[in-house]
Amino acid sequence: MNAALLSLQEVCFRYPDARTPALEGVTFDVRPGTVNAILGANGAGKSTLLHLMLGRYTPQRGQILLQDRPLRAHSRRTLSRTLGLVPQREHVPFDYRVLEYVLLGRTPHLGFLATPKRADLHAAWDALRQLGLESLWDRPVTTLSGGEHQLALVARALAQSPQILLLDEPTSHLDLANKKRVLEIMRALADRQMTVIYTTHDPESASAIADNVILMREGRVLRHGPLGEIFNAENLSETYGTLLDVAQIDGQKVILLNLKHDAPQI
């Protein structure tokens, strides 16, 4: 069994103006080369958790260890070379071309006032090719479809050549074909030793590719562990606060809305 790449220990976090904490006592480990889904209803604290792992917020109590050292002990440059972020949705005010957009991912590898070199261009091309976006390279980002934009965001994070890829709701606004494509890519990246951590409120996106699942509700981790052990009707019903069933079809777990027992009386 591998040692943890990223380790959260009793992490508590409260936003400056908030009365209640956003996260309380969050503890789990992430091992290298695995796909980890943070699953929970909207407002459960999933995105906050992602930003804490990114180092953007600092927990008030507890700690987050990256390769056995607290996040704060790493330099900003090291962090940005280790952790790549795919944001949920990005409004791009200017008409960057896809290649330039992906090239922005090379910034952590550039000097403070440097401009990209030939090697950076190659890295950006590689990232585009991995995701099958070469043909779009000179399209303005603003003209991409939702699925293509999502892939361009992944490509930009790959150009960063991180060890850990953090994705915030990567599939939430995609149609089925694009959702499948993005999930396949995430799985393929993990099979090539990338560590993938993503948030989702969609159990299907978790059960399709995740090795480990972290179930969250109201800022706490309810359960965490391998998909096979955790992903059952009882745990999911508790996570979402409503009755759910889980069925197994061809080895894949499928969630069913249980409408028989708790239908409101009208």
Partner: protein, 321 residues
Amino acid sequence: MLLILAVLLGLGASLFIGRYPAPFWMPPSSLRTDALAHQLVFNLRLPRILAAFLLGASLAASGLVMQMLFRNPLVEPGFLGVSQGAAFGAALCILFIGVSPLWIQASAAFFALLGLLFSYTLAEHLRYGGWVLRMVLAGIAVSALFASGVGLLEYLADPLTQLPEITFWLLGGLWGTRWQNLLSILPVVLPALAALFLARWRLNVLSLADETAFSLGTAPARERTLLLVLSVAATASVISIAGMVGWVGLIVPHVSRRLFSANTQHALPAAMLLGGLFTLLCDDLARTLMAGEIPLGIITSLIGALIFAILMTTQRLGMSR
């Protein structure tokens, strides 16, 4: 490359454009034969031409930088209270100290920076919205405050002596520019422009959302503030000698992005050159077309607004809503 050539050509030709000895064009040979022409070219036209170029380059560069930093293609360099602050400073000086150009310049620069300081302090205390929204809101409020102050001063001004001075200053122009004015702003403008130029790739990253900019290794708030101060310093300096010259900072960045690339790495140097060239040519028109001087701000606004309208109706603005 072509652009640099065009700029050099424009700078050179402008030396010989003017209303002396005859309207529009002075043959280069008269530099040797006519002592007055020699005087005029080197003591009046040359500093003015350089100032026009610097003015345009600074406004365009600051406009582009602010559009990137605020992630909004409709921002221009004078907002954040800078332009109105400068106008207030100039009007105040005309009213209470006199029309000495250097005093007006100092007062305008001082109040321009004060405007920025007010906006920034106000933005810090707003309890609403993210960094960008707070700065925009604060800028609007402070600008309105100074604008009303300018209105009050205009009302108080002597309509025969002081009001025309104020009006002329508000319309913008470079007729009073001498070597001493130009030299007094160089120590601020040149380093600021150089620093912005060096940060041209960084600006791309800072135009993205906070979380992305952070994940790419930048310190978004701190770096944005630094670049903002640099571009405001450049703007305040050039406004202080030229008055309110509108539209250059808004329209040139758009044209530059359209012609070159949204990538600031290319768009920023292009905007500096284009802005300089545009303002230079406008200033040539301002001092040549009529026997009297046409305020530069009127010409840049006229041409700038025309270009803007054409861009808006013919193509996408290089932005998405």
